[in-house]
């Protein structure tokens, strides 16, 4: 009897998957691999974004303090109070303005700003990648 049923089941035709199924599986695993990497990157960039955001705030405060201490604001206000003198001696005025500019603090804050923007872009890209894959998974019933 056992042999009969085995023979019977062997007569059943196998369901045929699409020709691309094997490739689809490999691609899907590749995508999941990238998802795993993206998740790790999200954690990494989130940490960097938080650190650089704090850095940006502190560098802005430092720039503001340096501008006050160097007298930059006072020189700059001459444009509004004594424009005719500034226009006459504009070359000297420009030089004085540049000399009073806290270059290092400004450069540091600009670097911080570009880091915050850069990390935000990377973070958004990874979040979008994961979201789009999650939508695909949901649409397929998983």
């Amino acid at each position: 009897m056992e042999k009969d049923y085995k023979k019977l089941f062997m007569n059943l035709e196998d369901a045929k998957p699409s020709d691309e199924l094997f490739e689809k599986i490999i691609l899907r695993i590749g995508k999941e691999e990238r998802m795993t990497v993206a998740k790790k990157r999200i954690i990494f960039f989130s940490f960097l974004l938080i650190v650089s955001s704090f850095g940006l705030v502190y560098s802005f405060i430092a720039v503001q303090e340096a501008l006050v201490n160097s007298g930059f604001f006072q020189f700059f206000s001459l444009i509004f109070s004594d424009f005719s003198i500034v226009a006459t001696y504009w070359q000297n005025f420009l030089l004085t303005l540049l000399e009073s500019l806290p270059v290092i603090a400004v450069v540091i804050s600009l670097v911080m700003l570009s880091l915050v923007l850069g990390f935000s872009t990377f973070l958004m890209k990874d979040i979008q990648f994961i979201n789009s894959n999650n939508i695909i998974r949901k649409n397929h019933g998983f």
Binding site: D4, Y5, A15, L21, F142
Partner: protein, 189 residues
């Protein structure tokens, strides 16, 4: 590497050999697809579940117990993926997976052991006829019979795959045989 055992290929993969996983997938994707197709009865869904099965397999390969058979473990993942899919689609009530084995001593112990009629095997449309008869069986009975006859698992392995006691599996097998016999017997050759 192509002729290595499944368990050896898992080891190779864990050692960093990516091709080992590809060989494993190639070895089983059609079998798993067939299993999923029988379980959910939908070709497109079966493809999605097959993909999901292998993704889960890849994700959990590190947790694979090397003392177990890879094939049994893979079928376990496929079965769980099928159930997840059906639950989310809500196409079948959850109760269909449980509590369907009532204690009917007569049914559990009576199986017609007479050989199947020769006319049956002479039928030109045997495959489609059989397909129709098998599809009338409850899904749990059908899956036990498929795993036993088509995928050549023993009752212990089937119990492991379906996460059920071995007695339940044997009971389902017997009930499946009775139902199939009835379906085949009802037909006039």
């Amino acid at each position: 590497m192509d002729n290595d055992s499944d368990e050896k290929l898992v080891e190779y993969f864990l050692d960093g050999e990516k091709r080992a996983l590809e060989i494993l997938i190639f070895r089983y994707f059609k079998i798993i697809y067939n299993f999923c197709y029988r379980y959910v009865g939908d070709a497109n869904a079966a493809e999605d579940i097959t993909q999901e099965t292998f993704v889960k397999t890849w994700k959990n390969l590190k947790k694979f117990d090397k003392n177990k058979k890879f094939k049994t473990w893979l079928f376990q993942i496929a079965k769980n993926s099928c159930i997840d899919y059906l639950r989310k689609k809500k196409t079948i009530p959850f109760s269909r997976f449980e509590n369907e084995d009532g204690d009917n001593i007569f049914v559990d112990n009576f199986v017609d052991s007479s050989p199947l009629p020769d006319e049956l095997f002479k039928r030109k449309d045997l495959s489609s006829f059989l397909e129709g008869a098998i599809n009338k069986l409850p899904v749990n009975h059908k899956m036990v019979m498929f795993l036993y006859y088509k995928n050549e698992f023993n009752f212990r392995e089937i119990a492991e795959i379906l996460n059920e006691p071995i007695d339940t599996i044997k009971s389902r097998y017997r009930r499946g045989l009775i139902s199939l016999r009835k379906e085949i017997g009802d037909y006039e050759y």
